[in-house]
Symmetry: C2
Subunit: 150 residues, 2 copies
């Protein structure tokens, strides 16, 4: 499905205006496909990202602030995502002894197992999600980064 079909709109003021809508549309499509794959593991994209960040630092725990700082969506409410992950026993929480204000989070063995299975599923779907050559993907990345400069 193309952007125009999706929004039933053909009148963009200019290419830059179209880029704004296009980036949001493409992001939505990609995120939907990611969500579908993760649903098989009962994970939301946000929960998956928190697990991924925690695995990156395992076996060392990370504090909530550190996790929030690595998420794309900066206003994600890490304590509440953590609530759900803890209920599923995918992470453990503890109070830092160095700074008792900090809540440390650590991925559990069950969390690592689930994350690895989900990651593998996502990886094998990547070809379906991005129909671009490496060369074109590199150009796309360049343009996306340029887009946000001021």
């Amino acid at each position: 499905m193309t952007l125009e079909e999706a929004t039933k709109t053909s009148g963009f003021k200019n290419q830059r205006h179209k880029s704004i809508v296009n980036v949001m549309f493409t992001s939505y499509q990609v995120k939907s496909r990611v969500s579908q794959v993760l649903k098989g593991y009962a994970l939301t994209p946000e929960q998956f990202n928190v697990l991924r960040i925690l695995k990156g630092s395992a076996p060392n725990p990370l504090c909530v602030k550190e996790i929030a700082g690595r998420l794309i969506e900066r206003n994600s409410n890490v304590p509440r995502i953590a609530d759900r992950l803890e209920l599923k026993k995918l992470v453990k929480r503890s109070v830092s002894t160095e700074d008792r204000r900090e809540t440390l989070m650590q991925i559990t063995a069950a969390g690592i197992n689930l994350l690895e299975a989900a990651s593998q599923a996502l990886e094998s779907e990547q070809n379906l999600m991005v129909a671009l050559s490496e060369e074109k993907a590199a150009i796309l990345n360049q343009l996306l980064e340029e887009m946000l400069q001021e």
Copy 2:
């Protein structure tokens, strides 16, 4: 802020993998900037989009299904967005006489006024949001559309 700074990640498996994260990151940044501008008009991006769609068909009303079909985010819950717009008297709802299952929505004069003011504000911020030439924006659009093909 670049993608790598934002996510504190430098290890993408390949350019296509990076494109996935990059599209979501750029979309989030753009949507945040749009939200900021719209906040001055007490509108969320979703409310703005519904108003924009209704203005496109004004003075003819549209049914809920039709509006939902034109939104990027397909699972948006139009009745609830409509609730909020109606509270602010920006839209009117009525039952269709042709098919009493349908709820017709129509933008009010107040809705048109607010939409036009907000649109103008967004337009004048567009240069801040998209730091691309028209030529590069056209290439970006081409690549984004190619990305989703199967």
